[in-house]
Amino acid sequence: MADLRINFAGIKSPNPFWLASAPPTNSGAQIHKAFEYGWGGAVWKTIGAPVLNVSNRYGAWHYGSQKMLAINNVELISDRPLEVNLREIRDVKRHWPDRAVIVSAMVESTPEAWRDIVLRIEDTGADGIELNYGCPHGMSERGMGSAVGQVPEYCEQITSWVTSVAKIPVIVKLTPNITNISYPAKAAVAGGAQAISLINTINSIVAVDLDTLEITPNIGGKGGHGGYAGPAVKPIALHLLSQVATTPEVAKSGIPISGMGGISTWKDAAEFLLLGASSLQVCTAVMHYGYRIIEDLCDGLSSWMDSKGFKTVDEVVGKSLWRISDFKDFDLAFRAVARIDLEKCIKCNLCYVACNDTAHQCIDLVDASGNVVQPYSYDVRSNGKHEAVSTRPQPVVREEDCVGCRLCHNVCPVDGCITMVEVPSGRASITWDQLTRERPEVGTDWEAMERYRKEVGIEIH
């Protein structure tokens, strides 16, 4: 049984799963309940400046029959009185000494305001402070949230105000709404942060109502960008996590990263760990299904770790990070082709149409006698299931023409039917970086490129 305990910048929790600062951590009663379900920690919904909320706060993006692939929200930080929050934080921490209780904070950008909130948070006995530099709506209009996270200098300055006062670990939460996230990450390190967390939500307009022409969600006839989160943002979060984790200043500082952005299952969690997160925060999946999902997050992660021989979470953290690379360092001689398992193929022809319409035209339809046939070539007077099924041609990859784009693999609805098979390219390994250092003209002159291709036997159809 894998050991799921973590020690994140000195903050301990029985498992790496924390509720992210958001509606699920709005009150003491909710967090008591979440801890009863087994959550390892909770980041209290951001406390700080006084706010007023609006209604119709959450929009959602549904795809096909899948509800809430993403949620978008214009809810602000906690609108409950500061004193109430602080009292409940103290109460929760006293009841749950083994769980991580972190308080997210956001106040106006003055050293006094930050000093005051830090001291009041520390008085509660909380384990850490998370600086919310990410909220992309409302608060940012008031110079807080992502307005800070988007300016590395502010980020560093405010972080240092906090770290110069705080005696408990300080986590800086980054916004994804920025061109290059490594800058605010470096600023957090320079400001003395003990940890970084990411990603906060992404600016988004989730929908326009086609009956009323209103923005979704409709707020009294208006609408605006809200923070986007949920399964749909996971790939963006994984990228930004890996970018921050591989930023030399961050890596050298050794500070841990709390990863979040679309974590819904233990599989998502494992991927975040492999790319360098050492604690994990969850919000949208809980908002969709409730606190109960913690059971499989832990159970699934633990089973997977057992199957892979990982004994502790630390052994998993960052395990795949070394593979993150730039295009220029990829092996140009690596070659993979698509192969269709004829036993598993159900002949939906989705690979055929995808390849022929939009990719590299290397899948044929082949009839029972081995002849390549065109689609829709049956006699329109024929019908019936027997005729339709028995005369249906089989999609087959012309491997010599396959560029290994992997589109067919992606569209195939049958598990394990189309696999990408590594085949020898007959060429020596070389990266673009190596090639253009040896022969710079290949990158600037098409004729030189043609000569190189001929030389090594690369044929483009």
Partner: protein
């Protein structure tokens, strides 16, 4: 009698499958893989672009879905209900290999009901060609041919001998599968395309074939088949005609007399329909009698399974020889046991009576559904025939120039079905169009 439950025909014979809810339709439509050159479309005799209409349901373009269906099959609402989808589209669905096929029939019903319930017309009559076509018989083939011709701008009159148009959709499909209203809604849709439907008009009675040929530029015969043939056994006069039994159950279910102990002769889909009506309208025991075995019966497997679930009993290798009646009341059906011998002309093992094996099945009502006779009209009109059916060319033209035919009356090969009749009507309309206005037809191509 006092203990008997009151049976309400409108309840027990109500459409078997409930309509899909919006949610069910969306979930099912999203399950469709959107196959390219899909096998369901190939398997459909009218080649409806099924993935296309299903994706339109998924995108909530239900009117577009209905148009996609009706473009290929003008009787799409009927076919959604009566097609043997297990043998056609759903039987060919690639998801049979993975989990379960898409409910294509019920999705088709969802889309077509949507437009009929809201009175939405998806087609308009074409610009007038000045050509007149007469259609004889307002069943699925005739209505489709008439509607397609009207879409192309021809002036069409449909002559129907019965009181109501719709053919077997109106009279011959049990309510459990298709209510009369669905068939009549399709008739109204065709009428809104400008087609005139004249009922109570029968060739050889109040309608002259020669006059039609003189007054119209083309004639399309979609006259279906003849009566249920005689059994040729003593007591024949006590046997009830199965098609009449179904008709009564649809149009006057309260007036249909159903026995307590009903025997149905035959093992085709119509026979199963008759047995289902009897069972649902209160017969305590319903027995189907067939001279061959379940392997040779013409009913679809899914119909056979349905009948067994209804509690209908089957007596195979059993041949009726005499109806036993006393004082005008049926008391039983005397039968003889059969065994299978050498293959007969149909290629199936011929049933041979077992001498001395006669026995009596107690019965107070005997219904026969043993197929229909071939169309008698062919001889009357002097048309060439093929195995008794009207002989037509690839363009559905008969041996008389300008006279076309389609539907069950030309079904010399394959089995008769609504969807095949619709395809005939559609292709015949296109052929008639090419013949009447060749230049415009070529330009449309």
């Amino acid at each position: 009698m006092n203990n008997r439950q009151i049976i309400r025909p409108e309840e027990v014979l109500a459409e078997y499958y409930p309509p899909l809810t919006d949610h069910e339709a969306a979930v099912e439509a999203n399950r469709c893989l959107y196959c390219y050159d899909a096998p369901c479309t190939h398997a459909c005799p009218t080649h409806i672009d099924i993935p296309k209409f299903i994706k339109k349901i998924a995108s909530e373009n239900v009117v577009g879905a209905a148009r996609t269906i009706l473009e290929a099959n003008l009787m799409g609402a009927t076919c959604a209900r009566v097609c043997p989808v297990q043998e056609l589209c759903e039987g060919a669905c690639v998801l049979n290999a993975e989990e379960r096929p898409i409910m294509i029939g019920r999705l088709q019903r969802y889309a077509t009901d949507y437009v009929y319930e809201r009175g939405i017309d998806v087609f308009e009559p074409g610009p007038p060609t000045g050509k007149k076509v007469a259609v004889i018989g307002a069943g699925p083939a005739g209505l489709t041919c008439a509607g397609e011709l009207a879409k192309l701008g021809h002036s069409v009159t449909v002559f129907e001998k019965r009181e109501l148009p719709g053919g077997l959709s109106t009279y011959g499909i049990i309510r459990l599968r298709e209510p009369v209203e669905v068939a009549l809604a399709e008739v109204e849709m065709v009428k809104r395309l400008g087609v005139e439907v004249r009922t109570g008009m029968e060739l050889g009675k109040n309608l002259s074939f020669d006059q039609l040929r003189r007054e119209y530029d083309a004639v399309f015969l979609s006259v279906g088949l003849g009566a249920v043939p005689a059994m040729g056994i003593p007591g024949e006069e006590h046997i009830i005609d199965g098609l009449g039994y179904i008709e009564k159950s649809k149009l006057d279910p309260h007036g249909l007399e159903v026995g307590q102990n009903v025997v149905v002769i035959g093992a085709g889909n119509t026979a199963i329909d008759c047995a289902t009506i009897a069972k649902r309208l209160g017969a305590q025991r319903v027995t189907m009698v067939y001279r061959r075995t379940d392997a040779e019966m013409t009913a679809y497997l899914h119909e056979y399974e349905f009948a067994k679930k209804e509690g209908i009993e089957f007596r195979f290798l059993t041949q009726p020889v005499r109806v036993i009646a006393e004082g005008g009341r049926v008391r039983g059906l005397e039968c003889v046991r059969m065994e299978l011998g050498a293959p007969d002309a149909s290629g199936r093992p011929a049933p041979v009576p077992v001498p001395g094996s006669e026995f009596v099945l107690p019965a107070d009502q005997v219904v026969k559904a043993i197929g229909q006779e071939k169309p008698v009209l062919a001889q009357m009109l002097g048309l060439a025939t093929e195995r008794g059916y009207i002989k037509v060319s690839d363009d559905f033209e008969t041996s008389l120039p300008g006279v076309y035919a389609g539907g069950d009356c030309v079904r010399s090969r394959g089995s008769a079905s609504t969807v095949m009749a619709v395809e005939d009507g559609k292709l015949a309309a296109f052929a008639i169009h090419r013949k009447l206005v060749p230049l415009r037809a070529a330009a449309d191509d």
